[in-house]
């Protein structure tokens, strides 16, 4: 086995040794230094796109006069880096990035909170779509759908300010299984599935999926496609599967024990459950 080299870096004046390649975000977390993030998710591939996590970096042993800006969530630690997470330059640029994000998602609680924390009271800018989309294009929804759920039901289309998240060709909602993982990870809360006429719907993606309701309490449990997929992954009786988690527990049955017994697709299902925790409890 190859041993990863340890490197020493300085974050906000504090030294830390980490394996080479550890992201600056992770290294900072070890020192309990909080760097704000939006497009980053531990379980998903890195994106480095929102740029909220920018930090100022220099390498004094190579060039003491030069420093540059990079995103902490993707930039790997290498020997001798000196990182400032709250330098005046970082704070100024981060604030402006938040202002720009706010112009895109003026109705988002989380972005508004970020803005307030950073001293933005009145937005200076209007986005190209006047903030109608409320989407900051962080790509979390797409990545969770592609990488964990593996449904590949949504993706980006267009370029620049015309970029948007769509279902393939903007019509075929049939890849969507209705797991709502995208809704759970969306930082602006703009993804909203609705249950209407016993179907789970998201009109702009062309989604209308049959819902299963708990036979005991009548609560919605999940879509029938989702249930079919779950059945393939875990050992569970049809009766239990159709129950909502609360009623399942009442029947003294924990999904988690089943999960741990099932080797096949273990990580998928546990991730899946955690990410869809809003729904399945």
């Amino acid at each position: 086995m190859t041993v990863t080299k340890q490197v020493e870096i300085i974050i906000d004046g504090r030294k830390i040794r980490v394996p080479q390649g550890t992201t600056i975000l992770k290294a900072a977390a070890m020192l309990e230094i909080r760097i704000p993030t939006l497009c980053h998710h531990e379980e998903l591939s890195p994106s480095g796109s929102c740029r909220l996590c920018i930090v100022e970096i220099s390498n004094p042993s190579q060039n003491p006069d030069r420093s540059w800006i990079d995103s902490a969530c993707v930039c790997p630690a290498s020997e001798g880096l000196n990182i400032k997470t709250h330098s005046p330059r970082v704070l100024k640029e981060r604030k402006l990035i938040i202002e720009l994000l706010l112009s895109r998602a003026p109705d988002s609680q989380q972005i508004m909170k970020l803005a307030l924390e950073n001293g933005i009271t009145k937005p200076r800018f209007t986005a190209a779509d006047e903030g109608k989309s409320n989407c900051i294009l962080c790509g979390l929804c797409m990545r969770v759908c592609n990488e964990l759920i593996k449904a590949e039901a949504i993706g980006f289309s267009g370029r620049g300010i015309k970029k948007e998240v769509v279902s393939p060709f903007k019509i075929a909602g049939d890849l969507c299984i209705g797991c709502k993982a995208c809704e759970a990870v969306c930082p602006t809360g703009v993804i909203n599935f609705k249950i209407e006429n016993k179907k789970l719907r998201k009109q702009d993606w062309g989604v209308a999926l049959e819902m299963i309701f708990c036979p005991d309490c009548g609560q919605p449990v999940g879509t029938s496609v989702q249930m079919e997929q779950l059945k393939e992954k875990i050992t569970i009786t049809d009766e239990l599967l159709s129950c909502c988690p609360a009623c399942r527990r009442k029947k003294n049955y924990s999904v988690r024990t089943v999960l741990h017994r099932t080797a096949k697709g273990l990580s998928d299902v546990s991730d899946y459950n955690r990410l869809t925790s809003k729904e399945t409890g």
Partner: protein, 613 residues
């Protein structure tokens, strides 16, 4: 014929040279510029006439000569007679007098605007005099569709030298010593890139040629692929040998059909001759090249986006903490170089790194091809040694500004370059010097601007291009550029506020610092450089609500000068909106309510009576 060894290539070259050297040739330029002035028609006519009159001469269609402004161009050899602006009606006379009897037709020669002298040879023309044509040396001489032509001029001799005399490390050493830096924009040292790709672990490796050329108005890479495709192939072969790659890719804009056609033909010929494929020239080197046509998005020229696009995904850059030389195409070590970079390689191997290293400045070696356009007499493609001053380029090669206007700025580096004002005209073309002036070398676009240019509008124009081309992945570039554009638009419409200047600077600096890829990191250049050098012009727009050059339509009105108007009625007749009133021989007036400021009256008035106020 499949060549199986170096000696065979040498003897074939000797044989071809003997056979062809006695022949007279007439080359007609078939480059982009000349084709636009219908050179293809001329070629058909020339072929027909020569056959009819039964004249023993080889007719060639070559790549771009550079002086596109004066096309279509023709050179008759061995006399080296250079004709320009040829019309179909000239062909008969050319064939009869020049091709048959070697006579010179005065009318078709280039006339030096300074001295009025008629010049016979291409090299006597001032446009060419100060150029140093290395990479472009054979453009205009060889038929790009003929591998024989390339071989006669010494083509593939650098490859044979590498295969017989040098180790991969020695080749990389030569390229490093030459000081060659990438011509695609970044200016990264080529030898260093090759080395890191060579030492990167990987079961297989790629060399890739970047012919995306998404920079509007630039056509140097296009002209190289069209005019001398084998020089790019030879460069890639040498790179493949040095790096240890078996597969090559050329990513070329689909909008360049002739470049695609010529490079595909060249690859097929090279395969037939045993210069691509298995065991090239009997050596251990096996290498082949595939051509991929790209959609031509500007961002697809960025290295990581280009590789995404080559793999069939949409071209979106990724962060470059892991270099593409380690993990690029299909996650394998990949060495990407620009067309012109590749074409420099055979020259370096043939002439030696020491020779190459003498050309240029301490930090930038060799020559650079530029497309010189805008308000300059001689527009076209030029190749100059690094270190030449901007003044020499604009005034000696370019022949200065036409129409007695004043020079205002030169925009370098493509859409995300900057504008350099007159006080820096004596600075030289050099990667680091241009960057220090707030611009960049980029791919080599040079746009000359005269006093009639509005610099705020220039910034707005480039930003509108960049907003369209931003991939939209990261916040600073996607949103920041849009805000810059909105502010600039406001200013050009006369709705600017003084605090806008601070906002432009603040956003520009942030986008430059925090964007994910080099598109965003350079995109604020047009704004920041014009703010740096032409702040007064911004202030004029904001405070006085005026645009002195008379470009921003919201900020001026057309008015007829009572003193100068003769009442000729021409403007009145031409105005498409019937906005001009006045009887014959009486002073006319423009009804501002009807005027849409199309500027037609301004253009047609022969008495300079229409003014912008």
């Amino acid at each position: 014929m499949k060549l199986t060894g170096n000696e065979q290539l040498v003897s074939v070259r000797t044989h071809l040279t003997e056979k062809k050297s006695t022949l007279r040739t007439v080359s007609l330029c078939g480059g982009t510029g000349c084709r636009a002035s219908e050179s293809e028609k001329l070629l058909v006519l020339l072929r027909k006439t020569v056959t009819e009159k039964n004249i023993d001469i080889t007719i060639k269609e070559t790549g771009c000569h550079g002086l596109c402004e004066n096309g279509p161009l023709m050179v008759i050899r061995p006399e080296n007679i250079f004709y320009q602006r040829i019309q179909p009606s000239d062909i008969d006379e050319i064939v009869e007098k020049s091709l048959k009897n070697g006579e010179v037709i005065e009318r078709l020669l280039y006339e030096d605007p300074e001295t009025g002298r008629k010049l016979i040879k291409e090299n006597d023309i001032p446009f060419y005099e100060k150029q140093q044509r290395l990479v472009f040396a054979q453009n205009g001489h060889i038929d790009p569709k003929s591998i024989e032509d390339y071989i006669i001029t010494g083509g593939y001799s650098a490859l044979t030298r590498v295969l017989s005399d040098l180790s991969p490390e020695e080749v990389i050493g030569e390229v490093e010593k030459s000081g060659l830096r990438g011509r695609g924009g970044g200016g990264f040292p080529t030898g260093k890139k090759w080395k890191s790709c060579r030492i990167a672990p990987g079961s297989s490796k790629y060399v890739v040629c970047n012919a995306d050329e998404g920079d509007p108005g630039a056509y140097m890479d296009r002209s190289l692929l069209e005019g001398n495709p084998h020089s790019v192939i030879e460069g890639m072969l040498i790179g493949a040998f040095a790096i240890g790659a078996r597969e090559g890719r050329i990513y070329v804009r689909a909008e360049y059909p002739l470049a695609v056609e010529n490079i595909i033909k060249a690859i097929a010929d090279a395969r037939k001759w045993g210069l691509l494929g298995e065991k090239i020239l009997g050596s251990e080197l096996s290498f082949d090249i595939e051509v991929t046509k790209g959609g031509g998005a500007f961002v697809c020229g960025e290295s990581t986006a280009l590789m995404q696009s080559l793999q069939g995904y949409s071209g979106e850059p990724r962060t470059k903490h892991i270099h593409t030389t380690e993990s690029g195409l299909y996650n394998l070590p990949t060495n990407l170089n620009n067309v012109e970079t590749w074409a420099n390689i055979p020259i370096i191997i043939n002439r030696g790194a020491a020779w190459f290293n003498k050309i240029g400045t301490p930090g930038s070696k060799g020559t650079k091809i530029f497309s010189l356009v805008g308000k300059v007499r001689n527009t076209g493609l030029i190749e100059v040694p690094m270190g030449m001053s901007l003044r020499e380029i604009v005034f000696d090669i370019g022949g200065g500004i036409p129409g007695g206007r004043e020079f205002k700025a030169i925009q370098t580096g493509g859409p995300s370059g900057g504008c350099i004002p007159g006080q820096y005209l004596d600075r030289s073309v050099d990667f680091d010097e241009l960057t220090s002036l707030g611009s960049m070398m980029g791919s080599g676009g040079l746009i000359v601007m005269d006093e009639d240019t509005c610099m705020v509008e220039v910034a707005r124009f480039y930003l509108s291009f960049l907003v369209e081309e931003s991939c939209g992945k990261c916040t600073p570039c996607r949103e920041g550029l849009w805000q810059l554009l909105s502010i600039l638009t406001r200013i050009t419409e006369g709705k600017g506020k003084e605090e806008d200047l601070a906002a432009l600077e603040e956003i520009g600096e942030m986008v430059k610092d925090s964007s994910l890829c080099a598109l965003g990191k350079t995109a604020p250049n047009p704004v920041l450089s014009t703010l740096r050098y032409f702040k007064d012009e911004y202030m004029e727009h904001i405070v006085d609500k005026k645009c002195s050059p008379g470009v921003c339509r919201s900020l001026f009105q057309y008015k007829i000068d009572n003193e100068k108007c003769t009442g000729c009625m021409l403007c009145q007749v031409k105005c498409p909106y019937q906005a001009i009133e006045g009887r014959k021989k009486e002073v006319h007036t423009i009804d501002t309510a009807k005027c849409v400021k199309c500027g037609i009256c301004f253009e047609v008035c022969r008495f300079d009576a229409v003014k912008k106020v």
